[in-house]
Amino acid sequence: MKTDPVERKPLWREEFSIFKADEKYVSRRQLTKFLTLTSLGMFAGNIWILAKSWMYKEPSYPVKAVAKVAEIPVGGVKLFQYPGPEDQCILVRTAEDAYVAYSQKCTHLSCAVFYSKENNRIECPCHEGYFSIKDGSVLQGPPTRPLPRVVLERRGPELIAIRMQQEPEG
């Protein structure tokens, strides 16, 4: 019967030493182990994002009438839901024949944004994030991403939402 040439201490003696230097050593080694496991967790997070990006499918958006031209005055606002019933959007008539619509969820912490007619911009009341009325880009504040835009098309007296656009064109 072979015996282990290096006689190892039992685990409890390694982990619960009576020497102060040993105790410090063990606690730091354990912290290092914990940090390494945390690093593994971060890596798993990145793998999860990768898997999600591989499984991602381009969403299909419904074509939906969201407003009648006559019901919104110049500088007026209409709220509607697009693409789903839970997705609040804001439509602004900026000129006689110009309309823009964006998701009403602030890209910072999802507060409902509103149109400020005085400043001609979209504002978030929670943390003073301001978005351009022209393309939804961030003008100021904590949000880092622009507001998703609802692409509109005018068909006779109606405004039709065609799809969502995450980034401003150009």
């Binding site: 730091r28 080694r29 690093s39 593994l40 971060m42 890596f43 793998i47 990768l50 995450q166």
Partner: protein, 77 residues
């Protein structure tokens, strides 16, 4: 006993150095994860693969440092 203590204090220095390096790697990894997630949520999916590769390399670095510590301990008995 003194030999044992000086050896342990050498190991403590070594483990402190390794821990500092792991902290740096972990900080970069936290930033990388949040940046990749933010980019992914903004609709840019092309950053996911390089993010995962770099995160894997950082984890590998942490694992190598941890292994170095445990091996050094085993060598010293």
């Amino acid at each position: 006993m003194e030999d044992h203590n000086s050896e342990r204090s050498q190991h403590l220095t070594m483990i402190d150095g390794a821990m500092a390096l792991i902290f740096v790697l972990l900080t970069v990894q936290v930033w990388l994860l949040s940046a990749t997630l933010d980019t992914f949520l903004a609709g840019h999916r092309e950053a996911a693969l390089p993010g995962a590769i770099v995160s894997g390399l950082l984890f590998l670095g942490c694992a190598v440092l941890y292994r170095f510590i445990t091996r050094a301990e085993r060598r010293s008995g």
